[in-house]
Amino acid sequence: MKTRLKNKIIGGAITTLSALSVVLILAIIIIILVVTIIGGKSTLSWEFLTSFPTEGMMKGGIFPAIYGTALLVIVMSIAAVPFGTITAIYLSEYAHEKSWLAQTIRFAVRTLATVPSIIFGLFGLGFFIKFVGGGMDNWFLGGQLKWAQPNLLWGSLTMALLTLPVVIVSVEEAIRTVPRELREASLALGATKWQTIWKVVIPGSISGIMTGTILAVSRGAGEVAPILFTGAAYYLATLPTSLSDQFMNLGYHIYVMSTQSSNVDQTLPIQFATTLVLLMLTFTLNLAAVLIRSSLRRRVK
């Protein structure tokens, strides 16, 4: 009788403790959201979103940062989505599951997903800016400095490497949900493998490609470490017009405003509002991805 009671108490304690952990995590999420909303909502307005910073970034809006972030994720997606999709197609359609090449690629993708983001920044600096950019300047511009410095292109490509695994994983998951029968039917009708992939597999996994793109965009919009020295600028009076321009970025803006600026306290509302914009952006994108993905899973069932 005594051991049964003891068992019941321990059981209750463990269940409660584990439930509390879940509650704690959810509470943290809600607290972060609520604090940011309360801190930022009075400053947040249409004007804030569409105007330039003024008075040495003490007042005004964050339009250049939003614009720069948008350009960054667009160029990044153009680079990451096709390459990620093709890799996923290779892994699921061409490679044999057990072949060493497929295994190595999978290992590389997972490694890429866990490499710290700052390493991508270093790589962008060492490879894109110094090696590729320096090489381009030497070969095409005769040593004139144009590409061997931080800019939009190098920042976006660095970010594309970071988000590549995100795309690969989502697309592969979606491709696997395309029923085998559809492929077999297509092949039986005389379509070649590539025709089957192009006309059957890719259209069938378009929602996965979308999820992957959305997740990649959300990740790319939020990461700061990779662009610290590959393209982000503290303040720019004009919007970037070409790939060789530097750009402002929401996350970098938050970082510099809260740590490097001379009067952090005065600009606090701007910082909170910027954080709110970034958080809402990534939050909405993630939510969209979760919804698309869950509807996809339901379709499979």
């Binding site: 269940t15 892994l91 060492g126 090696f131």
Partner: protein
């Protein structure tokens, strides 16, 4: 003629059954395969280039010694006493970090002309990597990595002490105790936390959490390894949770059913059967969490205080390896010693993360599979 056609159509010969060569098929397969190589190539390139850029840290030595020799040729008495001088010089510099301007002005100026040479000989070399001082931009630069390592390990330890138990318990709840409808909500909700940009978590830690925790515990420095550790725990929790949850749900139902059939209660099954069976997976989850915290840059930059102290007090400011790269790379001269040392730190981070991932991948997964299959 006619019989030929019939033959071609209906009789399968070895030749007619052969796959027809189509250029488009051939090309598409080759292109797709070579694009798939990209991820492998990127890993190799990262390794190569980050390591290559760290070479200035190693190359610097001969140049420094030749400079030293030139100086010592014209300045013999001084170079003999160099070991004593540098030992004495170390002190004011350390205090100088606390911005005691009167002391540094008095002590440093008289022999300012000598300092670069002395520094090049004693400190600005590889040997100084193992020293206890990180003063990369002083006149007498020292690149001691020990405080950075101590800081990183401290923050990682604190983060894991918070993140691991919470995340594992939450995963246990989600996989074993929660009803199915609740489970379908918990997982995506916690994964939303993974979508929070680290700069947002860093900002939250810097502006809200640091003040809150300081009021609660009453320590002196507002930003320290404790605040940074907890903030990083927020980044690590979703990773540990997701992987642990996957590992727990991957345990075959037969385990659970056998345990329940023997009369064990729900919690006993969860704690004594499912949890032990999933240990390798949980170990992998914690490892990947460690990897995430170890390389986290923005949170470390914003919430740890960024002072390269090597004490063990958790309420002291620290500077992590990744934050050092993030804070100083923008200000270095390309190709000099400091630049090389920062890349060296980067290669260390990369190798560390690569090994962690490899361990999680091969050792742990192999073990998990064996355990489930009962071999």
């Amino acid at each position: 003629m006619n019989s030929d056609l019939v033959k071609n159509k209906f009789v399968f010969t070895a030749d007619s059954l052969k796959k027809k060569f189509r250029l488009s098929e051939f090309l598409s397969e080759k292109i797709i395969t070579s694009v798939a190589f990209l991820s492998i190539a990127v890993i190799i390139l990262i390794f190569f280039f980050v390591f290559r850029e760290s070479l200035p840290a190693f190359k610097h030595r001969p140049k420094a010694t030749t400079e030293q020799q030139k100086v010592s040729a014209g300045n013999k008495p001084e170079s003999y006493g160099s070991s004593e001088v540098s030992a004495a010089e170390k002190k004011p510099e350390t205090y100088g970090a606390v911005k005691d301007s009167s002391v540094t002005a008095d002590e440093v100026n008289p022999d300012a002309s000598l300092r670069p040479a002395e520094g090049a000989e004693n400190e600005g070399t590889l040997g100084s990597l193992f020293s206890n001082e990180w003063f990369p931009v002083s006149e007498n630069p020292r690149y001691g990595l020990i405080p950075l390592f101590v800081g990183t390990f401290k923050v990682t330890l604190i983060a894991m002490l918070f993140a691991a138990p919470i995340a594992i318990l939450a995963a246990l709840f989600s996989s074993s105790f929660a009803p199915p409808w609740l489970r379908e909500w918990i997982k995506p909700a916690i994964e939303l936390l993974a979508g929070f940009p680290s700069v947002v978590i860093g900002f939250f830690a810097l502006m809200v959490m640091a003040t809150f925790l300081q009021n609660m515990f009453g320590y002196e420095t507002r930003l320290n390894s404790f605040v940074g550790g907890i903030a990083m725990a927020l980044a690590a929790i979703p990773i540990i949770f997701t992987i642990t949850e996957d590992a727990l749900t991957a345990i075959p139902d037969t385990y659970k059913e056998a345990s329940l059939a023997l009369g064990a209660s729900k919690w006993q099954t969860a704690v004594f059967v499912i949890l032990p069976a999933a240990t390798p997976g949980i170990f992998a989850a914690v490892l990947l969490g460690v990897g995430r915290v170890f390389g986290e840059t923005m949170i470390a930059l914003m919430a740890t205080g960024n002072a390269a102290l090597s004490g063990l007090n958790p309420f002291e400011s620290v500077r992590t390896l990744a934050a050092t790269i993030g804070a100083e790379m923008a200000e270095v001269v390309f190709g000099d010693m400091h630049y090389g040392v920062l890349f060296l730190i980067g290669s260390m981070l990369f190798i560390f993360n690569f090994s962690i991932n490899a361990i999680a991948e091969f050792y742990v997964k192999g073990k998990l599979v064996k355990k489930i299959q009962g071999k």
